[in-house]
């Protein structure tokens, strides 16, 4: 190019710069618009991409446009602008060699002119109108796009997966998984493989996970909801772990390096608990069956069912209840039965031979089957209902017309040795105020009591009662004589106690037995006689309220079958068993006296001696002299008691009668107004309620973290009280990971509702009326009430 070219080149550059600036001015709002659109639809990434695309497109267009802006065009521009160039600027650009002389001349002139004056401004004007229009259009649009309020939640929900996907690009991800379930062997269920990561399997199953991650993590764990971690071991490409499913759990697969926010989803493992077996009785149809005359055997049939199988062996517990009334002994035997049939539903049958049991009338044979299932660690057992075979009691002889008589008996009242001492002392204290006859009478009464007590204890030494065939433990023998003399008819204690008198074994034929057991009003423990029948543990043991205060509840018909039984036997034909009781006379209480050890026996004998003396003096009206003996007797009785086991009565609270003398005494010491104790105990914080309220308040979304933590802590404490705490744990976890998830909130609320404690009914308030209502109420208030 020639010498003047620099000026032209400068001009050309200026033109190009102007064009570029102009176009940039045009493109800027458009690019911003594209960026805003991208941000709105996607996010920052989309915005950048779209804006970059816009810039590129603008650059390409500009480049094309600048290319068109060549020197020739500049020359044309110069020509049109400056008349003095005379349409010849092109010559300046042309190759000098190719020019003719005239052209050269003209060119020379042009050069001079170019040098003479400045080159006019060749830059194209700013395209103001166009740019202004675009700016005015684009700016509001950009503003609208970026400032228009969005549905915040929607965006949050949208952004989450996008972000996590972006983050997780390089993090290990679970790509394939297999879950194999091996149920415990006893269930005989086949192992199976699952596609998913959630499982429902019998409790005790072993679960095997085979997982694959991409890319490979360094380590990976199964993290359970209670915090336990099961490490996954690497085996080539696979990661494996196993876990015994003891109870339902939630877990997540956590490879190392995976993003912790949000954590991987929770999976649920449900354990199906093994049911205990169930036993159904097929035969007999009723629980209580009675022994038919001539029946030699008893057919029993059971069906046991279980979800996985019943053990072949079942144990049949046979309990033979011997004796009657309270004096019953039990013998238990166990027999092993073998079941037949399908393990799920086994049949146990047995034909019991009744010969060895030798059931007496009124005695029971109780059968119960116990089966076990096949659960491997610790089988579960179940028992059938008890089946009772009863030999019917002897039929009761005709008692028509005797009911009145039978009931006309008085309860026996005893005084304990301690009571006798107390009464004697009281009598001595009152002596000055009493006349002689009265004193004597009372002393004599005490003597009678002392005698009764002595006789009572004497039985245990086999002493003959001195009253002859007379019921001993009655209130007083004299009063009761008619009843004893009159033919003691088979009154209803026969029906109750039929087992006692007619025992087949003659060994217990003595009426003392029947007399002894439980006919003592002070006898607090029916079970004692069944054990040893030790009389030593008499009512003194309790030292409790005077016996006279507590009439025995079921006494009225038990009093006099001492020798009455013998008479009964006389009238009842065919009772050979009681021959001994009828004709012989045993002097001992077979189960009590003979079993007393010699020392106790001696002590008891000493007590009786002292009682003798005490009675003697009391009867003579000298309680003061009787007292030392009575004290000694008491001491000895105490020793007997301590020598043996003591049984205390189990009786309900029997409040002493109200003593009116102690009321309204006018003494108000210590009585003053005071505050009431609090009506209710402090209740714990209502954690589910708080979370429920927080979830209900839609505006307070987001800051639920503290409440969710509180609920989790609460769940760990109150685990057992919820139907399905795991569901709640899972719902809490889901919401924590997606705080804007509406469905998660609703699910958690639904679960919370069942966890909420029903509150006490609160008091709704009626709204305050407006002025008009108030005026109305005032106006009707003015009216005199009718």
């Amino acid at each position: 190019m020639s010498a003047i070219a620099p000026a032209l080149v400068t001009a050309l550059r200026a033109v190009r710069i102007r064009l570029a600036a102009d176009d940039a001015l045009l493109a800027a709002p458009l690019v911003a618009l594209a960026g805003a659109l991208g941000w709105r639809l996607g996010g920052v990434a989309q915005a950048t991409a779209l804006a970059a695309l816009g810039v590129l497109a603008a650059a390409a267009l500009l480049w094309r446009r600048l290319r068109r802006e060549n020197p020739a065009r500049l020359a044309r521009r110069l020509d049109s602008k400056q008349r003095e160039f005379e349409d010849s600027t092109g010559l300046l650009l042309a190759d000098e060699a190719a020019l003719g002389p005239l052209q050269r001349l003209q060119r020379e002139r042009l050069r001079q002119r170019l040098a003479a004056g400045p080159i006019p401004d060749l830059r194209p004007p700013w395209s103001r109108r166009r740019n202004l229009g675009v700016w005015l259009l684009a700016l509001p649009l950009v503003a609208a796009l970026s400032l228009w309020p969005t549905n915040e939640r929607e965006r949050g929900a949208k952004q989450d997966p996008a972000r996590s996907a972006a983050v997780a690009a390089g993090a290990p991800r679970l790509v394939s998984h297999t879950l194999r379930i091996a149920p415990p062997a006893y269930t005989a269920l086949p192992a199976r493989e699952l596609d998913g990561l959630e499982a429902k399997a019998p409790a005790g199953s072993r679960l095997y996970w085979t997982l694959r991650f991409a890319p490979q993590p360094k380590r990976a764990h199964l993290v359970f909801h209670d915090g336990t971690r099961v490490p996954l071991t690497r085996d080539g490409e696979d990661w494996t772990a196993s876990h015994v499913l003891a109870r339902a759990a939630l877990y997540r697969v956590v490879p190392e390096g995976a993003p912790t926010r949000p954590p991987p989803p929770l999976h649920r493992l449900d354990a199906i608990a093994d049911r205990a077996p169930r036993v159904r009785v097929l035969a007999p149809e009723r629980t209580l069956s009675s022994l038919q005359p001539g029946q030699r055997s008893w057919a029993l049939a059971f069906e046991a069912s279980d979800d996985y199988g019943v053990a072949v062996d079942g144990r049949l517990h046979l309990t033979l209840a011997r004796g009657s009334g309270e004096n019953i002994t039990f013998e238990t035997r166990t027999r092993v039965l073998r079941g037949r049939g399908d393990p799920m539903r086994r049949r146990f049958e047995v034909e019991l031979d009744l010969g060895p049991f030798d059931l007496a009338p009124g005695e029971d044979l109780v059968a119960q089957l116990e089966v076990r299932d096949t659960r491997a660690p610790g089988p579960q057992a179940a028992r059938s209902p008890s089946l009772i075979l009863r030999r019917p009691a002897e039929p009761m002889p005709d008692v028509v017309g005797l009911e009145g008589l039978a009931r006309k008996v008085l309860p026996a009242y005893f005084r304990s040795q301690r009571q006798i001492i107390i009464d004697a002392e009281a009598l001595l204290a009152e002596r000055p105020r009493l006349d002689e006859a009265r004193f004597l009478a009372r002393s004599d009464g005490l003597g009678v009591d002392q005698r009764l007590l002595r006789l009572r204890y004497g039985q245990f030494l086999g002493e003959e009662s001195e009253g002859g065939p007379r019921p001993l433990p009655t209130a007083d023998a004299e009063d009761h004589a008619p009843s004893a003399v009159s033919p003691a008819l088979p009154i209803d204690d026969l029906g109750q106690d039929s087992g006692t008198a007619p025992t087949p074994s003659g060994e217990r034929g003595d009426g003392h037995v029947g007399e002894h057991d439980h006919r003592d009003p002070r006898d607090h423990d029916p079970g004692r006689d069944r054990d040893d029948g030790h009389a030593g543990a008499e009512a003194e043991a309790s030292g409790g309220p005077p016996a006279s205060v507590r009439p025995p509840p079921a006494h009225d018909h038990e009093h006099d079958h001492d020798h009455g039984d013998a008479q009964v036997d006389d009238t009842t034909f065919g009772r050979v068993a009681d021959v001994l009781a009828e004709f012989g006379h045993t002097h001992d209480l077979p189960e009590a006296a003979t079993l007393l050890d010699p020392v106790t026996r001696e002590t008891l004998r000493g007590a009786l001696r002292e009682m003798w003396q005490s009675e003697l003096h009391l009867r003579q009206g000298a309680p003061a002299q009787a007292l030392p003996y009575a004290h000694r007797a008491l001491e000895l009785i105490k020793q007997v008691q301590q020598a043996d086991r003591i049984y205390l009565a189990r009786v309900g609270p029997e409040l002493p009668p109200i003593d009116p003398a102690r009321r309204l005494g006018g003494d108000r010491a210590g009585i003053a107004s005071r505050a009431l104790p609090a009506a209710v105990a402090e209740r714990g914080a209502d954690v589910p309620g708080r979370l429920w309220r927080a979830l209900g308040d839609e505006s307070a979304a987001g800051d639920l973290g503290a409440e969710l933590d509180a609920l989790e802590n609460w769940l760990h404490g109150a685990d057992a009280r919820m139907e399905d705490p795991l569901a709640l744990v899972a719902a809490v976890d889901a919401l924590r990971n997606a705080p804007h998830c509406e469905a998660c909130r609703h699910e958690l609320r639904a679960l919370l509702w069942s966890a909420l404690a029903p509150p006490a009914a609160a008091v709704p308030r009626r709204p305050d009326g407006d002025d008009q209502e108030r005026r109305y109420l005032d106006a009707i208030g003015q009216e005199p009430p009718r």
């Binding site: 309220r693 029903p758 509150p759 006490a760 308030r765 005032d778």
Partner: protein, 620 residues
Amino acid sequence: MNPHSLVAAILALAVLLACLRLALQQWRAPAATRARMWRVGLLLALQPLSAWLLYCTLWPPELATRVGTMTVLTAGATRAQLVALPRAEVQVALPEAPALAGARRVPDLGTALRLHPGTTGLQVVGAGLPARDRDAVGALALAFDPPPPPAGVAELWAPARVAPGGRIRIAGRVHGVVDGAVELRDPAGRRVDGAPPDAQGRFVVVGDARAAGPAPFVLRVLDAGSTLLEEIRVPIWVEEAPPPRVLLLAGAPNPEFKFLRRWAADAGLPMHVRVDVGGGVSLGDAALALDAAELADFDLVVVDERAWAALGDVRRARLADAVADGLGLLLRVTGPLPESTRLQLQALGFAPGAGNRLAELALPAAGSNGSALGGGGGQEPEDADTPGAGPGDAALRLLRRDLEFGAADAAAVSAESADWLRWRPHGQGRVALATIVDSWRLVLAGRGAQHGLLWSEAFAAVARPAGSSAPRVGPHPRAGTRVAICGVAEGALVLAPDGGDSELLLDPGGGAEGCAGYWPHEAGWHRLGQGGQDWPFYVRAAGDAPALAAQALREATLALVREAPDHAAPVAPGQPRRGSSWPWFLGWLGAMTLLWWLERAHRGRHRSTRPSAPASATLP
């Protein structure tokens, strides 16, 4: 001179001129070239005709307005319904109506009536007139033969707000359910109550409210085969009210007092308790002088008849004054009322009997229809005082004092409590007599919740009012439908679930009522904020509970049914309306075309004139 006559004059002149010209032409022409007479006649006739047509084009004659009935098709209208009706002059279809031939689509009824002025009667076909069109009916006669409503819940009443622990009584009516059942499910999705609808389809189900907040209950309608017919949401707003401050006075400690105090403490009522134990000794909080200032700090005074008698005249008078200022007074009658007490009560408007006898109380079952009230697998508070008796197993027989309340204007709180609880206003406050004697048996029978409800009802009836009265939101607001909110003041705001708020503009014509319109556009809980208080109301989605919507539409339309136009309001005479110009213009165009053709055509001219050119050539 108006344009009509001017134009008419010009046209008449033109016609005259044209006719003259034609006549002259005919007259001047040589006999040979004269046109045929029919041609001339036709031309002459067409001149005035076209002039008249032109005039009519410019001013088409006004149409006579017809007086008649209009058939209005609304949503759900069917062809069969339309055919069954006598055909009306006009048929219009509202936007909701399905497309049926022969009906003119109109944007609303008002438009249709303006298009057809003079309409005196409307025949509505279909579901009914939407709210938009009801005002347009005005005084017109309206006939409406409603179609059978869809099966489902047609009417529904649910409490607007419930206190925690309170009972939610949802009543309603279902339609089209035979041998079916209605069941209520709690927010956890468990069935809490169920009832077969009666012959009219009415039902009542009861649920219990727990913690505060919105509780989405669901009502399910099942048919005879237990298949689901409809499931509609019944959202309940459970909200804690400010607990009333209670002064509890008792003349002697007894179980009734103990359990009443215990319930009140459980329910979180601030209490001042004082119970006399005789001999001038009393237990509980400090003694009060019961002056006006002290009583103003209480919302409710619960007193039994012994404590009442022990109060003394001065304090009783102060109490009565405080009641007149708004305090609530609940007098528990647990024993026979002495004569003096009865006289004192007369000053409060009651003239009770002595109540010497006890009577049995009719007590509703533990839960209506065997609902599992108070049960559920939730965390049940373990009460040492409630033995594990099954709730409501045995019929409990509670007792009340058998006394006449002796006040004709004494109101009952509910039907169940009418025989033992009555109240009447005394000044601004209320006085109630409660004659129940052994409600504590409920607690011992394991029905503590029922005991609480019993007393909650009694306390709520008389306690001092709190808070301003709730604005009244129209029944069952629905997204996209205007709802009227009354009882609001200037500056009330409605907060929509999406966070947007809109200020309510009071209808200046609404009067003192203070009504405003609101157009919800989103379903969910809206909050009406006014004076620092929030009043939530639930807006159903547009398509939710169709039977309920149909019933509302039907009832509103039936309310407009009227045999004859209301002549008290004169019918505006039909405005004559301008007819269409188009037919006239086309006629005019036709006439002009004919004229033009006739002028140009050779037809009808003299036969000899056909070779006109040679003839004319010969002329010169």
